[in-house]
């Protein structure tokens, strides 16, 4: 079993249970602040993770669970994201009528699912981890029980999520039926014999559908805008960062650890998915007026950018994805934290709610503007260097396969389009008049720290990328590319 290897996951699950229990003895007025305790504890676990090293891959639960640099990178990523999401949830707590402690606990359980996903080395664990994430998100998305949009989001996510899980489990069954194993390493060694079998390929294709749903890649992106728009802001942020990153780590593991040969033959397919996802996300984001929906489409586009790194099929592409996710984490969390604070008194999340934000709160205005600029990929912020690495990885392959140049062109067109709507938000913040008699914006201390952290992260990764490049490169080398 080798349980000590899973100490981080065990700690997170225990923390979730402690929060649930603590709820019983906490007076209602204090329940909100349980979130701060949870955030602090997750922060401690994050610190603890730096005492773990994984120069060599180690396994637990048979060969199901793997602990290597890549797993560790993503575990830290998820832990960091959760700290910010929990702080955001406390900010959001007064908009949730009842059961705020369950909300915190569910976030922690989703976190444990993501951390298991980071270590998945077997299709069974892939499925279990994904279900753990998805099922908790069914509840998290519909947590504002009296708000119709939130319920709508929950039901949409439930139906489409269940459908994609069904695809996935069917695919896994087909793979197991043909390969006689669900373990990645064993599939990889036996792949030569079976990779020509159509049933095996069909199974893999269905698994890909399931993962495509998680990362919201075209043509499985339909749920994203509605769910992002309707869900409570912290849930949306966690979906956009955590759930998407979990999808990417699984995608990397399945494609490059389990079936590298098949992946190579699917290069064209992946390229088409990537290019169309980029264009679709960016084009659909242009007419949006709802800020959360706009970000929903923009995260679809970002899934497409990160898929560029997958199509490159190289270490350069993989570490570019890891780097990009690092910048994306700070950027998206910054944007949603701002939305969470600003939208307190506003129904509808319209862009006009941030109009003239710089007069009401310079800190929020600067954070949001930097987040938009970073998402657009403008120097000197994290998004620019991330896109640069991704493009470099793709162009590197162009010499062998000219189709990569077309993919590059699609990505560049996407970037140009995205300027329009990202800068539109910046324009609204700085150059529109704030509506009269808006209530003053109050930012709690922890939220303030979270915002400072995000700004520091965006700037640091953009201006001093060296350390992060080293870390990402190291983690990506765990994938046997």
């Amino acid at each position: 079993m080798n349980a000590p290897l899973m100490i981080l996951e065990i700690a997170v699950v225990l923390l979730g249970l402690v929060i649930l229990l603590a709820d019983l003895w906490t007076p209602p007025s204090q329940k909100q602040s349980l979130g701060y305790i949870a955030a602090a504890a997750v922060g401690l676990i994050l610190l603890g993770s730096f005492f773990i090293e994984a120069p060599q891959a180690r396994y637990a639960c048979g060969q199901m669970y793997v602990m290597d640099d890549l797993a560790l990178y993503f575990k830290r990523f998820f832990l960091l994201a959760t700290v910010a999401v929990l702080v955001m949830s406390v900010e959001f707590a007064d908009r949730i009528e009842a059961g705020i402690s369950e909300y915190y606990a569910l976030i922690l359980f989703a976190l444990s699912g993501m951390m298991f996903a980071a270590s998945a080395n077997d299709f069974v664990l892939v499925f279990v981890a994904l279900e753990l994430i998805t099922v908790t998100f069914y509840i998290l998305t519909s947590f504002q029980r009296s708000r119709v949009p939130s319920l709508e989001a929950g039901i949409k996510y439930l139906i489409l999520g269940a459908l994609s899980s069904a695809f996935m489990v069917y695919g896994i069954a087909l793979v197991f039926g043909t390969a006689n194993t669900t373990n990645f390493a064993e599939i990889a060694t036996g792949a030569k014999a079976i990779s020509a079998k159509p049933i095996f390929l069909l199974g893999l294709l269905l698994v890909l559908v399931g993962l495509g749903f998680k990362i919201a890649a075209f043509p499985f992106q339909m749920w994203a805008p509605d769910v992002y728009q309707g869900s409570p802001a912290p849930t949306t942020a966690f979906l956009a960062v955590g759930s998407k990153a979990a999808g990417f780590v699984l995608l990397l593991r399945v494609l490059f650890s389990a079936v590298p040969e098949v992946t190579v033959s699917w290069t064209k397919l992946l390229m088409i998915i990537s290019g169309v996802t980029i264009l679709y996300g960016n084009l659909c984001a242009v007419p949006q007026r709802n800020l959360k929906r706009l970000l929903g489409y923009s995260t679809i586009a970002h899934a497409g950018y990160m898929l560029l790194g997958v199509t490159a099929m190289s270490v350069a592409g993989s570490y570019a994805i890891l780097y990009y996710l690092g910048g994306y984490l700070f950027t998206v969390l910054a944007a949603f934290t701002v939305i969470c604070v600003v939208m307190r008194a506003v129904e509808g999340d319209d862009i006009s709610a941030v109009a003239g934000l710089h007069q009401r709160s310079p800190l929020l205005a600067v954070t949001m503007a930097l987040a938009m600029v970073s998402l657009a990929g403008i120097p000197p912020l994290a998004g620019f260097f991330g896109k640069f690495l991704l493009l470099k990885a793709v162009i590197e392959k162009g010499a062998l396969q000219p189709a990569y140049y077309w993919l590059t062109a699609a990505a560049l067109i996407g970037v140009v389009i995205s300027f329009y709507y990202y800068l539109g938000v910046v324009k609204a913040i700085y150059w529109s008049e704030a509506p009269a008699d808006q209530p003053a914006l109050q930012i709690s201390k922890p939220t303030r720290f979270s915002l400072y952290g995000c700004i520091a992260g965006m700037l640091y990764l953009g201006i001093f990328p060296n350390d992060m490049v080293e870390i990402a490169l190291h983690a990506a080398q765990a994938l046997k590319l």
């Binding site: 162009i395 140009v416 700085y430 990328p465 060296n466």
Partner: protein, 507 residues
């Protein structure tokens, strides 16, 4: 740290500083912006005077490793090609800040963007690392769009913003793809231009690779420089831009593309260059003749200047296409001279707009009587624009024509026609319609730039044009060794070329 780092660093530091000053401290913000760009300018003049003439080596170098895994380093330095551009950029940046008193709303954001733009421009010209070269350019480019969109003027403002954003972003990204492809295919695993050049000299890129990458750089950079037929963003964009932005972009930032072609595309991809030079030579006629003719028809002063500025870019392209020492030296000379000139004309037209709230040429007239200083400066600028000896433009254009004659005689004849006849027609007509003739009663109340502070930016730019016009060797002697080095890589043997210019000079 090298003086260069300070030159590009002060504006960026000041931008950060201004961000933390409350918006009602308007005077403080303006003083900080002026001090930072002024300091950069003084340091650039010092740099220019300390530059060791006759050496093709990099001077004032600073190199700090930035991303080891990719071979990216912060590497700045000057040689003959960029010394003039940095001096010009720093002077124009100061002048642009100085004329920005016309901005009355949201000054804080304006100065932050202006300072970022200035720092980015100087950084782009100083960088000897492909990554930073592009990074700084992008840093300067984005504020341009925002400034035009927010502080711009005229009815077409939104359209112009839209157009300039799409064109220039597309151009920059195409060039980025070319630069990344160059980095990857050279196999040198470094973004450092010096090391890359050394590596490519030892193992040249294959002809196929060159034929693929060169057009990416040519058209990517070409769009940024408004190479015909990708020039339509320029007149409209400059017409709508606030004065300082137009000065900085038309004067300095636009030269980035030309500089990139000379610094990177020519020496690293000689084969690619050779097969495209004819195309460049004929496209540049589009700039010189077509845009010159369009300029004749303009009724709006800013559109006229904008078109004429596009036309002037043709001379630089012609100099590059001639691919010899005189031509390249002339091209760099035109770049520097045109930087001062474009900044001066846009600054003056901005002053006129400030006073009259219109730039329609037919509504003006007789302004010289009311505005002796501004009017005289405008006449001098217009004269410099049609290539009057005594101004730096004359020197550069002359060298380009001499150089291009050998390779492209027909193109040269047409270009001379464009420079001397078409240029004179629109410039002289503008002078007559705006400055001479009876003064309409509406303009009785105009005020000239009376205060020395208001005169300073224009005087500075005019003085620069005259200094380099009367003493061009200040610049050409510096350019020549570096241009020779570039040429050596671009055509192999350079001995006959070098001899040619020496005999030309002794004559």
């Amino acid at each position: 740290m090298s003086t260069l780092t300070y030159i590009l660093g002060w504006p960026l530091v000041a931008a950060t500083l201004v961000a933390f000053i409350p918006r009602n401290y308007r005077f403080t913000i303006r003083v900080i912006a002026l001090a930072a760009t002024g300091l950069s300018m003084l340091l650039a003049i010092k740099l220019f005077s300390q530059f060791e003439v006759g050496s093709a080596e990099l001077q004032f170098v600073q190199k700090v490793s930035w991303v080891d895994a990719l071979g990216i380093s912060f590497h700045v330095g000057v040689d003959g090609l960029n010394i003039g551009l940095i001096l010009m950029g720093a002077i124009v940046a100061f002048a642009a800040t100085a004329v920005s008193w016309e901005i009355k709303e949201r000054e804080k954001e304006f100065y932050i963007l202006l300072l970022i733009m200035a720092g980015g421009i100087l950084g782009a010209f100083a960088s000897f690392d492909l990554f930073f070269f592009f990074f700084f350019h992008e840093l300067a480019l984005i504020p341009t769009f925002i400034m035009i969109g927010v502080w711009g003027k005229g009815a077409d403002k939104n359209y112009a913003t839209f157009q300039i954003t799409i064109y220039l972003t597309a151009g920059a990204l195409i060039a980025l793809v070319g630069l990344i492809a160059l980095y990857l295919q050279s196999g040198a695993n470094t973004f450092d231009i010096i090391e890359l050049t050394r590596h490519v000299r030892a193992n040249p890129l294959s002809v196929n690779q060159q034929h693929f990458i060169f057009p990416l750089l040519l058209f990517g950079f070409g769009i940024l420089v408004s190479l015909w037929p990708f020039h339509t963003w320029a007149p409209l964009g400059y017409g709508a831009a606030p004065t300082a932005t137009a000065m900085l972009h038309a004067g300095v930032l636009k030269k980035f593309g030309l500089y990139g072609l000379i610094r990177i595309a020519l020496p690293l991809m000689p084969e690619g260059a050779r097969s495209w030079l004819h195309v460049i030579a004929f496209l540049c006629l589009g700039n010189i003749l077509y845009c010159g003719l369009v300029a004749i028809r303009q009724k709006d002063l800013n559109l006229l200047i904008g078109n004429s500025s596009v036309a002037h870019m043709g001379f630089v392209f012609l100099g590059i296409a001639s691919l010899n020492l005189i031509g390249l030296t002339g091209a760099v000379m035109v770049m520097v001279a045109h930087g001062f000139l474009a900044a001066l004309t846009f600054g003056l037209s901005g002053y006129l707009y400030q006073q009259t709230k219109t730039l329609r040429i037919d509504e003006m007239g007789g302004l010289l009587g009311r505005l002796p200083f501004i009017g005289a400066a405008l006449i001098m600028a217009m004269m410099a624009g049609c290539g009057l000896p005594g101004f730096a433009n004359f020197v550069g254009e002359m060298m380009v024509f001499f150089a291009a004659w050998k390779t492209f005689p027909l193109v040269t004849i047409l270009a001379v026609w464009g420079a001397l006849i078409i240029g004179s027609v629109y410039m002289l007509r503008a002078i007559r319609n705006i400055l001479h003739g009876p003064l309409p009663t509406t303009w009785e109340g105009l005020k000239d730039a009376s205060n020395p502070w208001r005169k300073l930016p224009f005087a500075l730019l005019l003085a620069s044009l005259l200094v380099f016009g009367f003493a061009p060797r200040l610049l050409t002697d510096k350019i020549q060794p570096s241009a020779e080095k570039i040429l050596k890589m671009a055509i192999g043997a350079s001995a006959p070329q070098a001899k040619a210019i020496k005999t030309a000079r002794t004559d």
